[in-house]
Amino acid sequence: MNEGNTHNNEHHGVGHIVDWKVLIGVLTALLVLTYLTVKVTEFDLGPLNIVIALGIATVKATLVCLFFMHLYYDQPFNSLVLVSSVLFVLVFILFSLIDLSAYQPDIIQDYISSMRDPAYPLDEPQ
């Protein structure tokens, strides 16, 4: 586990060999960030909580993509594929949310309850 990067220069195959230091560094960072994201939920920061949680998750995901998945060393087009797929998910979320949140006030809230099958238990147990 400690051969360093001695092989990098002798490598004749295709693809890039990632340095051990990088791999272990990324692993450590991921584990620390996981601990951090659990700890941070103990503080009630209101809406900031989810922002922080997602921020940490994004950092972790970026680390995995760049180094474990070699994107840092790869042809840039592969990164473009990844980024655009994420962008399309965001577009999907954004537009659906714009629409669905807009008509929420128009929904008659008790309508669903009144329509519900009585056999289906609605509220607290006994």
Partner: protein, 559 residues
């Protein structure tokens, strides 16, 4: 041309040793093949079969609608719902979406690149098997209790109906993966299999459109997959995402569904545009006008296609979303119009030869323009409230899906037929089939625009007597169109047995696939193809004896 040496003469068909159709024999050699050409031919056969069934269902629908009330003996309203669902689902998922990319694209794409095969040949075969499995699920649904939801599977009806929705949904799910793998294969092939010298802007426009299509297939189709999984989960477990009985939101289903299915409309039309971009310059003997504009507009359409899905939901969305989606929808018309103008400009002062593929291309121009422009009425919020879910919508999307995509598919099929099977079809039958289909199509769907504006709702089994004349005209048109398609089928099948052997380059195209023999060798090229401008026809000469074009040595000298 006696003094010049021919680079590749248009020579009559001879039994080429190792032609891909004959170098291996037996059904098993077809079922296990990884040759993109054979897979393309297998797709062609399967898709045609599905098309036949989908078409027969359409005939039943039109027969039923010939007169108000029950018309077809034994066809009640519930059956009618199942029939139009099957017609829609088969035509969309089994025919139009895979039609041009999987059948024609598979055959032509690697050859246009001068490559031996697609990047992942075994994945390609797997896509075909997935198509077959998906089709089997559709058949299972058909023979048990066919789904009656319409091809859109809208909740909450699709979660409550007693018919076999799940097999149909599973079938569509599997077909989605078939489509994904085809698209993935094509993107990698175009990226990585181009030979040196064949830069992006020397690619035939068909490849640009297939590339744009493949982007949509890869990005959008997985969303169909998850939508259908959620629909199954909703039916089985009532998870409460789509079904309002369990606290879900049916409009959310529409968002999910159209996030895929609107881009899917462009999966259908973009390859068709590519086929047209190939045929119009060849039969005008003129370089394509505005190559770059057409190429970029394909990619632009693909990108726009992801942010316009809401225009299917103008009656169920909030005002803000309606405005956003309406505005973006109008902007899609720009790249589409760019293409139409460029094709028209290519025709201008060309030396037009009305061979069958060109007849289809001209029919496409006419029909696509109608289909596209009527789309603008539906993108306008005010008029859409009136036209939503009427026959106007039915006519509009049939002009795009059938009038454009199917016509382009048939045109492309005639165009590449000599290359695929090495036989020339009869131009007389070919043109007759095209003309009959064209007339039949317009007689069917033009009255439906009128019906729609007068308030005839879609999906109905019965209608008021005042609609009868137009409905009857429409039905007669459908039968004419059916006849036209049978003439075309006869024309093509006839050529297999009695057609004249095709020259290597019967149309005089400069694209690479025509530099192979007809039909091609199983490794595609027996001689390295020469890369050049795919729309430069000046060095091609007609050889009346071989009934094909050959390239003169001036071209070689320049090369």
């Amino acid at each position: 041309m006696a003094t010049t040496t021919d680079i590749y003469p248009g020579r009559p068909y001879t039994e080429v040793e190792g032609n891909y159709l004959t170098h291996e024999k037996g059904i098993l050699s077809w079922l296990t093949t990884v040759d993109h050409k054979r897979i393309g031919v297998m797709y062609l056969m399967c898709i045609s079969t599905a098309f036949l069934f989908g078409g027969l269902f359409a005939m039943v629908i039109r027969w039923e609608l010939f007169a108000p009330g029950a018309t077809v003996p034994g066809l009640n309203a519930d059956r009618y719902n199942q029939i139009f669902t099957l017609h829609g689902a088969i035509m969309v998922f089994l025919v139009i979406i895979p039609g041009i990319p999987a059948a024609l694209g598979n055959f032509v794409l690697p050859m246009m690149l001068g490559a031996k095969d697609v990047a992942f040949p075994r994945l390609n075969l797997m896509s075909w098997y997935l198509w077959v499995v998906g089709a089997l699920f559709a058949v299972i649904s058909m023979v048990t209790s066919a789904a009656d939801t319409g091809w859109t599977f809208y909740t909450p009806y699709s979660t409550t109906t007693q018919t076999a929705v799940i097999p149909m949904v599973v079938g569509a799910f599997i077909l989605g993966f078939s489509s994904i793998f085809t698209g993935l294969n094509f993107i990698v092939t175009i990226h990585k299999m181009r030979p040196e010298g064949l830069t992006w802007f020397k690619l035939p426009l068909f490849l640009w459109s297939i590339y744009a299509t493949a982007i949509i297939q890869v990005i959008a189709t997985p969303v169909l997959g998850i939508t259908l999984l959620l629909l199954i989960a909703e039916r089985v477990m009532g998870v409460g995402i789509f079904d309002s009985t369990y606290g879900g939101d049916p409009v959310l289903f529409q968002h999910f569904f159209w996030f895929y299915s609107h881009p899917a409309v462009y999966i259908m039309i973009l390859p068709a545009m590519g086929v047209i971009s190939e045929m119009i310059p060849v039969f005008s003997r003129k370089h394509i006008f505005g190559y770059t504009a057409i190429a970029y507009s394909s990619v632009a359409i693909a990108m726009f296609s992801f942010i316009v899905w809401g225009h299917h939901m103008f009656t169920s969305m909030s005002p803000l979303s309606n405005m956003i989606f309406s505005a973006v929808t109008f902007s899609v018309s720009i790249p589409s119009a760019v293409k139409v103008f460029n094709w028209t400009a290519t025709l201008y002062k060309g030396s037009i030869r009305l061979a069958t593929p060109m007849c289809y291309a001209l029919a496409f121009l006419f029909l696509f323009t109608i289909g596209g422009l009527t789309g603008l009425h539906l993108a306008t919020l005010g008029t859409d409230i009136h036209l939503h879910d009427t026959y106007f919508v039915v006519a509009h999307f049939h002009y795009v899906m059938v009038g454009s995509t199917m016509i382009a598919f048939l045109g492309g099929l005639h165009y590449w037929w000599p290359k695929i099977f090495g036989k020339m079809y009869s131009e007389t039958y070919g043109r007759l089939g095209c003309l009959t289909t064209f007339i039949g199509f317009n007689v069917t769907f033009l009255p439906q625009f009128v019906l729609g504006t007068r308030g005839m709702p879609r999906r109905y089994y019965d209608y008021l007597p005042e609609f009868q004349t137009l409905h009857a005209v429409s039905s007669i048109g459908a039968f004419i169109m059916g006849a036209g398609l049978f003439i075309t089928l006869f024309c093509l099948l006839h050529s297999l047995k009695w057609g004249k052997p095709a020259a290597d380059n019967p149309w005089g195209s400069a694209a690479l696939e025509w530099q192979s023999t007809s039909p091609p060798h199983y490794h595609n090229f027996t001689k390295e193809p020469t890369v050049g401008d795919p729309y430069d026809y000046q060095d091609f000469k007609w050889d009346p004896k071989a009934e094909g074009y050959y390239k003169t040595a001036e071209g070689q000298g320049a090369a």
